[in-house]
């Protein structure tokens, strides 16, 4: 197995708040890793640091052996990393199809972006295929402003995927959607990603989703890593149950604590 992502001694504070404290993570190619933790535990900060949106105060990030610590998000994406967003980041005034087309065009025309046409027959076909794959073809010509949340999430992930990354980070793929939708959505996403043999990290609040899709779990607490190991083992650990999952038990359902 080859190591795809390595985070070494990451630290980052925002004012007095320590958002990342000595984070060390190594992810092997092909793994599916769930990231759990209460609000403010440092999950999103970790994803933001890995994807270059936030720079760490100290530490180093390696993507397949290459140092990406100081790169801009764009360069990190080009180095083979993709991310989705907790709040889907779409082009609000374009249709579902055009949203995807922009992503595909950028991915395919790297290097000659201001001469080759965006809309070629071949590319339009590819977009339709991706829409099928993510089961959102029926929304093809709808403006994204009017989409259901689940479709927004799927489109957001589909757009991140088209440039052929090696590692994908999903920021709460099931937040904001109903509990009936969450498994079908994750089946589509994980199915599509695994078919390409991708490594996946996903932040998740819902322990059912975590235990079903992750083969490894990293639990964050107060900016540090509390536990890291096989899913069943981590979820059974007393400290994780108390400090991470416990919050959800107190608050009833996982979703209540954060909204």
């Amino acid at each position: 197995m080859t190591t795809i992502l390595e985070a070494r001694n990451i630290n980052r504070s925002f004012g007095a708040v320590v958002a990342a404290r000595n984070i060390n993570v190594t992810v092997e190619e092909g793994e599916t890793v769930g990231i759990i933790g209460a609000n403010g535990a440092g999950k999103t900060t970790f994803v933001n640091i890995v994807t270059g949106y936030v720079k760490p105060s100290t530490g180093q990030i390696l993507l397949a052996g290459t140092d990406i610590t100081r790169l801009e998000p764009r360069a990190i994406v080009l180095a083979g990393l993709a991310r989705s967003f907790q709040i889907p980041q779409l082009f609000a005034s374009a249709t579902v199809f055009d949203n995807l087309l922009y992503a595909v065009g950028i991915a395919e025309e790297r290097g000659r972006p201001f001469w080759n046409r965006l809309r070629t027959a071949e590319r339009l076909r590819r977009c339709d295929k991706v829409l099928e794959e993510f089961a959102i073809a029926e929304y093809r010509d709808q403006s994204v402003a009017t989409l259901p949340q689940g479709v927004r999430k799927l489109l957001d992930i589909a757009m991140a995927m088209v440039h052929g990354p090696r590692l994908v980070l999903l920021d709460e793929p099931t937040s904001g959607i109903t509990s009936e939708e969450k498994f079908p959505l994750m089946d589509i996403v994980v199915g599509a990603l695994k078919e390409q043999g991708l490594t996946v990290l996903f932040i998740e609040h819902d322990m059912e989703v975590v235990s079903r899709y992750a083969d490894r779990v990293i639990a964050f607490y107060d900016g540090s890593i509390l536990a890291d190991g096989p899913t069943a083992q981590v979820l059974a650990e007393p400290s994780v149950r108390e400090l991470v999952i416990g919050e959800h038990l107190d608050g009833g359902e996982g979703g209540n604590a954060r909204h």
């Binding site: 764009r74 980041q89 779409l90 922009y102 992503a103 025309e109 201001f114 757009m159 440039h163």
Partner: protein, 310 residues
């Protein structure tokens, strides 16, 4: 294929019109087409939601190049002069673009204005360049051919028509490209564009250079047509006028700027003839009317008419 044929047809129609139009209309057509180039550049920016309140800078650079180059080097060839004016304006836009591509919205507009005002301040105080009066531009030649005074405008018109078709054709092609289509996308969500692996700054920079170069070409041709340059070409009211014509034209097509520009120049010549004291009221009033009632500009009328015809 079809695109290339369309361009040749457009060039033929425009050039052919040169033999039909009367002298006064010929001059108006040259100026309209040339200023249409400046507006075309603004349309490229406007599609991405950017407005430059300082296009006079590049327009003036193109014009002053045509004025100065013959004096310094003795070159009078129109092709070389316009190409140099375009290149200089494009280069200045390229240099300033490193700074300007960081800005959006009103800040972008204001910073563009500031740079134009710097050049204005320099020109007004430079006596060697005639200060506020500007100076005379020598007659140009075309690849060794020096037209007689009577036919000068006719030749310049044909030259202008060809330049316009070539540049508009290139811009049209650019607008179909990936960067060219990154318009509303950048307006909607820059963060997403970056996370797709595309540099928003580079896209804005490219658009800005295109706009600057086109303004330079327009200024170069106008200077040739009028035979005179002065700092007013760089003045913010001139830049404001270009923005006005952009809104009037609409951004729906590369043809729109030339329609808008022609309407504007016609309006101006009639107003100066019949209602000289009301010119700015007419400009201001029509700008208000377009913003309030015709957000897509004149081109939206053409688009509607074409849609209903089918």
């Amino acid at each position: 294929m079809g695109y290339g044929l369309g361009l040749v047809a457009a060039a033929a129609v425009l050039v052919g019109a040169g033999w039909v139009l009367p002298e006064w209309a010929l001059f108006l057509a040259i100026v309209s087409l040339a200023k249409g180039l400046v507006v075309l550049g603004l349309v490229v920016l406007w599609r991405t939601g950017l407005v430059s309140f300082g296009q006079g800078l590049y327009y003036g650079l193109g014009a002053y190049t045509v004025g100065l180059l013959p004096q310094i080097t003795g070159i009078t060839d129109a092709v070389l002069l316009v190409a140099t004016g375009t290149a200089i304006a494009g280069l200045v836009a390229f240099a300033l673009g490193f700074l300007l591509s960081r800005y959006r919205e009103i800040f972008f507009a204001m910073l563009c204005l500031a740079f134009a005002m710097i050049l204005y301040g320099i020109l007004v105080k430079t006596e060697a360049l005639g200060s506020t009066d500007g100076f005379h531009v020598v007659a140009v030649t075309y690849l060794g051919y020096a037209p007689a005074i009577e036919s000068a405008n006719q030749v310049l018109y044909v030259f202008t028509a060809i330049v316009v078709v070539v540049l508009a054709g290139l811009v049209g092609r650019y607008l179909q490209s990936v960067t060219g289509q990154m318009t509303t996308a950048i307006r909607d969500n820059e963060l997403r564009v970056e996370y797709l692996g595309f540099s928003v700054r580079r896209a804005v920079h490219t658009k800005f250079v295109i706009a600057g170069a086109l303004a330079g070409a327009g200024g170069a041709i106008v200077a040739t047509a009028i035979g005179h340059v002065d700092p007013e070409m760089v003045w913010w009211i001139t830049s404001g006028e270009f923005v006005f014509v952009t809104i009037l034209s609409g951004s729906g097509s590369v043809i729109a700027p030339f329609i808008g520009s022609t309407v504007f120049e016609l309006l101006r010549s009639f107003a100066l003839e019949y209602a000289p004291n009301f010119w700015q009221i007419i400009v201001g009033g029509s700008l208000l009317a377009v913003i309030m009632f015709l957000p897509g500009g004149l081109w939206s009328l053409v688009a509607k008419w074409r849609a209903s015809g089918r």
